[in-house]
């Protein structure tokens, strides 16, 4: 089993819809959970990170971590065409400072 699993998509939703992106993981030692956004032909950029379980909100974005289920989610409200990108979940163990990325989900927001 891979350490981090993420459905590659593509996921197409109409503008204004709520988007739900998810990842599962197998290593219970992960403590920090992140979401990166990558536009075509660009490097990934950090959207949000959370420590341990719980929710974190930043504008239209909400990150959710459920450590008991080893499941993390990113919700995008009022989705816009400019949100079309690949979203990568990522996580790390503090002990070795190495971030493990999911494969990324390609998201298309249809105008």
């Amino acid at each position: 089993q891979k350490e981090v699993e993420q459905d590659p998509g593509p996921l197409s939703v109409p503008e204004g819809a709520i988007v739900s992106l998810n990842c599962t993981y197998s290593n219970s030692a992960f403590q920090y959970f992140m979401w990166y956004r990558q536009y075509s032909r660009k490097g990934p950029e950090l959207l949000m990170y959370t420590y341990s379980s719980g929710n974190k909100e930043d504008g239209r974005f909400t990150a959710q971590v459920d450590k008991s289920s080893k499941y993390i989610s990113l919700f995008i409200r009022d989705s816009q065409p400019s949100d079309s990108a690949t979203y990568l979940c990522a996580m790390n163990r503090v002990v070795d400072d190495k971030i493990i990325f999911g494969k990324g989900t390609r998201l298309h927001i249809l105008p």
């Binding site: 660009k42 490097g43 070795d96």
Partner: protein, 112 residues
């Protein structure tokens, strides 16, 4: 003013050649990384350096050799290039122990 800059952006070369990719960061970060992103977009760590010292060396062929002349620079030299080396290589930096990586815009390497 670019935070993490990589050169070149594109590199097309023949099998068997040796090539280098350069990376520089002006963020004052302690740690720098090289990641490889394959055609399926999977981003995999190759190396990390903290203050010029090698910290992470994943299972990468010996043909790949990173060099960090100072904490603001991390270069990647690849010997005897193979077709399977074709990918996008990303440099990144962070404060030690930080979760916020700043990535460069990538070097698209094509081996023909």
């Amino acid at each position: 003013d670019t935070a993490v800059s990589q050169t070149p952006k594109y590199l097309v070369t023949q099998m068997g050649n040796d090539k280098s990719i350069k990376c520089e960061q002006n963020l004052g970060h302690d740690t720098m990384y090289w990641y490889k992103q394959d055609s399926k977009k999977f981003l995999k760590i190759m190396f990390s350096y903290n203050n010029k010292e090698l910290i992470i060396n994943e299972t990468v062929p010996n043909r790949f050799s990173p060099k960090s002349p100072d904490k603001a620079h991390l270069n990647l030299h690849i010997n005897s290039l193979e077709l399977g080396d074709s990918a996008v290589y990303f440099c990144a930096s962070s404060q030690q122990g930080g979760q916020s990586y700043t990535f460069g815009s990538g070097t698209r390497l094509t081996v023909v």
